[in-house]
């Protein structure tokens, strides 16, 4: 489970200091589907970067399961990140030189799994995402929706504890966007914790809880007894 307490983050240039996050605190329980919303520049992505251990907070505590991450070195964060976190990005961030299969296999390679297991697991995930027939294609040969499905495959292939999705529908049309949201909802139902940053209230509806940010602070937390049905 995830616990944030008084998280602060500042960006400094020579003359100006901007507060990106100003005392953000909340918890995320195992198996939750949390949406983070807010206007441009409110600190959503900064928060997701800290949650995803891509960045350290300047102040505050960040407990990720049994780890106190806030003081971790980059190396320690990287080690923890690769074992427990999957990422989905707005711009997919697939690697152009790699095929669908290789993109999905990548996290397993870095986790040091043997070839036989990698093959079996990648097949499993690609079947699940219905991308098996495209496994030898390169990203640029796929539609946006397909690319994002590959990205989701890559995020879940290592069986992470949490999936962080940064506006996963932002580059997709509404049909493909819905498909991706459905995917995330299904993953959540099968036990994965999902944290998603989104601009679209409609997609936030799918989450069990929505956290609203404004000027680097949490303004409201909407709990829902039941998330919108898929």
């Amino acid at each position: 489970m995830i616990k944030l307490r008084g998280i602060q983050k500042f960006y400094r240039t020579d003359e100006v200091e901007t507060t990106a996050l100003n005392g953000v605190s909340f918890d995320i329980q195992n198996g939750e589907f949390v949406a983070i919303m807010g206007p441009s520049g409110c600190g959503k992505s900064t928060l997701l970067n800290i949650l995803g251990m891509l960045d350290n907070p300047d102040n505050g505590e960040y407990h990720f399961y049994e780890h106190e991450v806030a003081g971790y070195s980059e190396r320690q964060r990287a080690e923890l990140r690769k074992k427990s976190i999957g990422f989905v990005f707005q711009s997919f961030n697939l690697i152009d030189e790699l095929t669908v299969y290789e993109n999905v296999e990548l996290p397993l390679l870095y986790l040091g799994f043997d070839a036989a297991y990698r093959k079996q697991r990648v097949h499993e995930v690609l079947e699940q995402m219905q991308m098996m027939h495209r496994r030898n294609h390169f990203p640029q040969q796929l539609s946006g929706g397909q690319q994002q499905r590959v990205a989701v495959s890559r995020a879940i292939v290592g069986k992470p504890l949490v999936i962080f999705a940064d506006e996963p529908t932002g580059n997709l049309d509404s049909k493909n966007g819905s498909e991706v949201i459905n995917l995330l909802t299904e993953l959540n139902k099968s036990g994965s914790t999902v944290v998603m940053v989104t601009h679209t209230p409609e997609f936030a509806e799918y989450a069990s809880r929505t956290i609203h940010l404004f000027d680097g602070q949490v303004v409201t937390e909407n709990f829902k007894s039941t998330a919108k049905a898929a």
């Binding site: 970067n49 891509l54 990140r81 990548l106 870095y110």
Partner: protein
């Protein structure tokens, strides 16, 4: 995992064809230059290494306070019986040029006779083949028997047209006519041509033992091969037994020498055979070819050019690598560690290097013959792998690949994923100053090379156009005869030829001399002074040239005072009534002026002998007897009916027919002597062969350096244009013209070229001044010319740089602004 990485590396290179292409071409160019130079360096460093016994082979060298020489007397070689540790004493008597004739048996017709004048022949003993690794194609050496000989495959083909059938040559006889009694030698063996990287060269070796017979010596008693002969005319080597210390043998020799002649001041040394070509260091006092200097220069240039290529690789890869930052950020986000990322980059570098190396090897193979003719050598790639230095060179190349590859990999994989994902990596200033520094280095080297080339070319031009103080145009030089029947009824046939030749209609004037300009003198001597001179004057050295009375007028030299000598001024028996000096002699003898000198006497040797006093009849103005490398030396001209060389002033027309007429006359009067005719200006220019090669090399490597630098610049300009696309779009929307944008993009790089110029000038000035010191007469760098050279080098580099950048900038400037903005 590795195959996976290889596949990835290949795909990454393939996708970025533009950068990959520039990188491969740049690296291949650098490697090509590197390989050529390493061939050269290896060739020279490997001299005499092919002898199996090279470690145990030494040349005997004696040193005195005045200097060192490699000549040894039969008396010294008698030390063999009293010295321990000697296995063999290979002994040569060199400089035995002569006329060699082959008369086939059973053929009387003179037309079947084969005659050549040979310069590279020597006498030797059989220890030569015990010690050195010369291989036989047929027969064997039997040089301890008199009247035997060994020749090389080339000589066998030249005299016997034997093709590959060398066995057929065994037993054939050649007649050798030189300073010794004409003698016949039977061929006992044909050996392979001597490898080019041997300091011992030659085509024929006659048994030295033949000269042990006094009848064969003629009147050359100095060459008696007896233990009491102290005249040093032999070149000898020692093959030491395993484990023998060279220094102890040398000490024993010096002790032996003292015992034989207590007054001697010669210390004997054993010079390792491998150091004869290179020297044992820059200041090796023993005689050597000082090739070490050239090896060091070649290796330095090789490493320099190669570094330029690696710099390119680093520049381009880090610049374009920034566009790969996203990929690296993504990989890091999903769990890649640094080592996961470094390895594929190293593999990419390795693949680039291998591709470049293959291209370089191909280029070297294709251009080898052109390079060889440029250098006047017969180099090949084999040399690079044959000797230690080449191996080190290849190791340096690998190390360069590893270092630059690692640097690139570390820079690229150093990106923080958060920076990348925020999307502002392209504006990161990381590595920009490093790249700028590297561009400055590249251009500094290029500018220095350009300046070097201009200076070498100017010096060559200076040398070929300088007024030499004589006229070498339309002057034909014919080698004098070596086979002369002294008791000819009509007098000395060589002089008869001179008289007859002068009557030919196209010959305006003819002179005989013992040596010629561009080649040398008769000899140099000390002990010439004014009768009133100080005893120290006797230590000054003069060059002596014997020539007939027409020498000065044929070469169109000018007399400063007085006039030339007459035929009758030669009194015979090396006694002369009057002599001619050049101005340098006048100064060295201490006369205030040429007019003061004329009519005065000088003496040579014992002042009591009146006959050795010569009156100065004229002073010829200084002229360049040797190349402009050498300062004009004091020369004393002695009157002589010299027949060593005939120089003929001829008319311009019908050169071929005239030459044929001369040859016919020569062969008629001087049968058996080969006819060799050259033009005097060719002989003189031949002295600059090496300088011309240096010029060619400089030009070649300047072009390479500038091409490599420009490839890099082109890539960087492309990158700059790419990363400033949005800025340019905005500027265009705001009304910037294409020209102003080209200026904007070019100025940044031209500033770097300007800094490079400031660095290159002093370095090139210093290096080229050192090079010019090799010439007694040279262009002056501290002059308008010097300023012009450096300024034009800078302008050339800047122009080439500008064209390179502008091509790229123009494309960017003309792109549609909206596209640029939308792209962002």
């Amino acid at each position: 995992m590795l195959t996976n990485y290889l596949k990835l590396a290949f795909r990454a290179l393939w996708r970025r064809k533009f950068t990959t292409g520039i990188n491969v071409i740049g690296l291949a160019l650098g490697m090509t230059a590197f390989l050529f130079l390493m061939e050269f360096a290896s060739f020279h460093a490997g001299f005499d290494s092919f002898h199996t016994n090279a470690d145990r082979l030494f040349r005997i060298v004696g040193t005195t306070p005045q200097g060192s020489q490699d000549n040894v007397s039969p008396m010294m070689l008698a030390m063999r019986s009293q010295t321990h540790g000697i296995e063999a004493i290979p002994t040569f008597m060199t400089s035995a040029s002569g006329i060699i004739t082959y008369k086939p048996d059973n053929v009387s017709s003179a037309s079947q006779t084969v005659t050549f004048k040979e310069e590279d022949v020597a006498y030797g003993n059989n220890d030569i083949f015990r010690a050195f690794s010369f291989q036989f194609l047929a027969g064997n050496a039997d040089l301890d028997k008199p009247n035997t000989m060994v020749l090389t495959a080339a000589a066998a083909q030249k005299y016997f047209a034997c093709g590959e059938n060398y066995q057929s040559v065994i037993g054939k006889r050649l007649l050798v006519a030189n300073q010794f009694t004409p003698t016949e030698y039977a061929v006992t063996g044909v050996m392979r041509n001597i490898p080019e990287n041997s300091h011992l060269q030659g085509t024929m070796l006659f048994s030295l033992q033949t000269l042990a017979n006094p009848a064969n010596l003629g009147d050359n008693s100095w060459a008696r091969l007896v233990p009491d002969n102290g005249s040093a005319f032999l070149t000898a080597y020692l093959l030491l037994r395993d484990g023998t210390q060279a220094s102890s043998v040398a000490t024993q020799m010096s002790e032996f020498g003292k015992k034989m002649d207590p007054s001697t001041n010669i210390t004997w040394h054993l010079q390792p055979i491998r150091t004869i070509h290179t020297g044992n260091g820059f200041s090796d006092p023993l005689p050597n070819s000082a090739a070490l200097k050239y090896i060091v220069i070649a290796v330095s240039i090789a490493l320099f050019v190669l570094s330029l290529a690696w710099i390119n690789y680093i520049n381009l890869s880090t610049a374009f690598g920034l566009s790969r930052a996203r990929e690296i950020g993504v990989r890091k986000t999903i769990g890649a560690t640094r080592s996961h990322l470094v390895l594929p980059h190293l593999l990419e570098c390795a693949m680039l290097s291998v591709a470049a190396l293959l291209l370089a090897f191909t280029t070297v193979e294709l251009l080898q013959s052109s390079f060889n003719s440029l250098l006047g050598a017969t180099l090949h790639l084999g040399y690079v792998f044959q000797y230690g230095i080449g191996t080190w060179g290849m190791a340096a190349m690998l190390l360069g690949a590893l270092l630059s590859g690692s640097y690139v990999a570390l820079v690229l994989t150093g990106v923080k994923p958060i920076v990348v994902l925020r999307g502002n990596f392209i504006r990161s200033v990381n590595g920009r100053s490093v790249r700028k520094t590297l561009v400055v280095i590249q251009f500094a080297v290029s500018i220095a090379f350009i300046a070097g080339t201009l200076i070498v070319l100017r010096q060559l031009n200076f040398m070929s156009h300088r007024d030499l103080g004589m006229n070498l145009e339309q002057l034909l030089v014919i080698d004098g005869p070596q086979l002369v029947e002294n008791k000819s009824p009509g007098g000395n046939p060589a002089l008869v030829f001179k008289q007859e030749a002068e009557r030919l209609p196209f010959v305006r004037q003819i002179t005989g001399s013992q040596n010629i300009p561009g080649q040398g003198y008769n000899f140099s001597t000390q002990g010439i002074m004014r009768p009133s001179g100080h005893s120290d004057d006797a230590k000054k050295s003069y060059k002596i040239l014997q020539a007939d009375e027409n020498y000065f007028s044929t070469y169109q030299m000018t007399f400063g005072e007085g006039k030339g000598f007459q035929k009758t001024d030669n009194l015979g028996g090396f006694k002369f009534r009057s002599v001619v000096l050049n101005e340098a002699s006048v100064v060295q003898l201490g006369f205030k002026s040429s007019s003061e000198a004329v009519g005065q006497f000088i003496q040579w040797g014992n002042p009591s002998e009146k006959s050795q006093r010569w009156q100065i009849c004229g002073v010829v103005k200084n002229y360049h007897h040797k190349s402009l490398h050498d300062a004009i030396e004091p020369i004393i001209f002695l009157p002589s009916a010299a027949t060593g060389y005939f120089s003929l002033r001829v008319t311009v027309e019908n050169v071929q027919a005239n030459m044929a007429a001369l040859e016919a006359l020569y062969k008629k009067i001087l049968p058996g002597n080969p006819f060799t005719a050259r033009f005097a200006d060719d002989i003189f220019q031949k002295q600059y062969e090496n300088d011309v090669r240096v010029g060619n090399l400089f030009a070649l490597f300047s072009v390479m350096a500038i091409v490599i630098a420009c490839l890099g610049l082109f890539g960087l300009a492309a990158f700059a244009a790419e990363s400033r696309r949005k800025e340019i779009g905005v500027r265009k929307v705001l009304g910037a013209t294409d020209a102003s944008i080209i200026t904007l993009l070019s100025t940044e790089f031209l500033k770097l070229v300007a800094i490079a110029f400031l660095i290159a000038c002093p370095v090139a000035f210093w290096l080229m001044s050192a090079w010019l010191q090799d010439f007694a007469y040279h262009v002056e760098l501290r002059s308008g010319f010097g300023v012009l050279v450096f300024v034009s080098s800078g302008i050339i580099a800047a122009l080439i740089a500008f064209i390179t950048i502008a091509a790229q900038a123009r494309k960017t400037a003309q792109a549609n602004a909206i596209d640029s903005l939308r792209y962002e």
